[in-house]
Amino acid sequence: QKEVEQDPGPLSVPEGAIVSLNCTYSNSAFQYFMWYRQYSRKGPELLMYTYSSGNKEDGRFTAQVDKSSKYISLFIRDSQPSDSATYLCAMTLLNSGGYQKVTFGTGTKLQVIP
């Protein structure tokens, strides 16, 4: 079983739609959960991160973590063509040394059609 599973898509939605992106994971030791956005041939850009189960909202974005189900989601409201990118879920545990190795999902390619 892969540590982090993410549907690669592509996911195509009309402008203004609500987008739901999801990941599952197998390692219950993961403590931090992140969503990165990556444009073609660019570096991952941090969108949101959460530490605990529950919801976290930032503008049009809502991150949701369910540790009991090992499931995380990212919701995008009122999607815009500029949201078209690949969305990477990522997670990590913080070890005693303070450093962390981030484990990424494969990424979901999103296209928002005007």
Binding site: R41, P44, T103
Partner: protein, 113 residues
């Protein structure tokens, strides 16, 4: 807003040659990382570096790879003898002591011919 920078943006090299990829971390960040992404594949961890030593490395990070922070600012990844399969985007990431997350640079695209 502070950001991680990487040079060069694109490096083309012949198989067997040495390459050095450079990263300038966000000021006052002390944890440094290298990741790579082969075209069409996921981002993979290579190595973490803290307090002038490697904290953790993946199985990808074999003897052909090395990292250092030669001048207290730049953070470098050296590949001693490049192979065709080293062709990928290489991302540097840095983290502060109080931050919980890593910030990524724009990447260096390495093409090995």
């Amino acid at each position: 807003e502070p950001e991680v920078t990487q040079t060069p943006s694109h490096q083309v090299t012949q198989m067997g040659q040495e390459v050095i990829l450079r990263c300038v971390p966000i000021s006052n960040h002390l944890y440094f990382y290298w990741y790579r992404q082969i075209l069409g594949q996921k981002v993979e961890f290579l190595v973490s570096f803290y307090n002038n030593e490697i904290s953790e490395k993946s199985e990808i990070f074999d003897d052909q790879f090395s990292v250092e922070r030669p001048d207290g600012s730049n953070f470098t990844l050296k590949i001693r003898s490049t192979k065709l399969e080293d062709s990928a985007m290489y991302f540097c990431a840095t983290k502060g002591t109080s931050a919980d997350t890593q910030y990524f640079g724009p990447g260096t695209r390495l093409t090995v011919l």
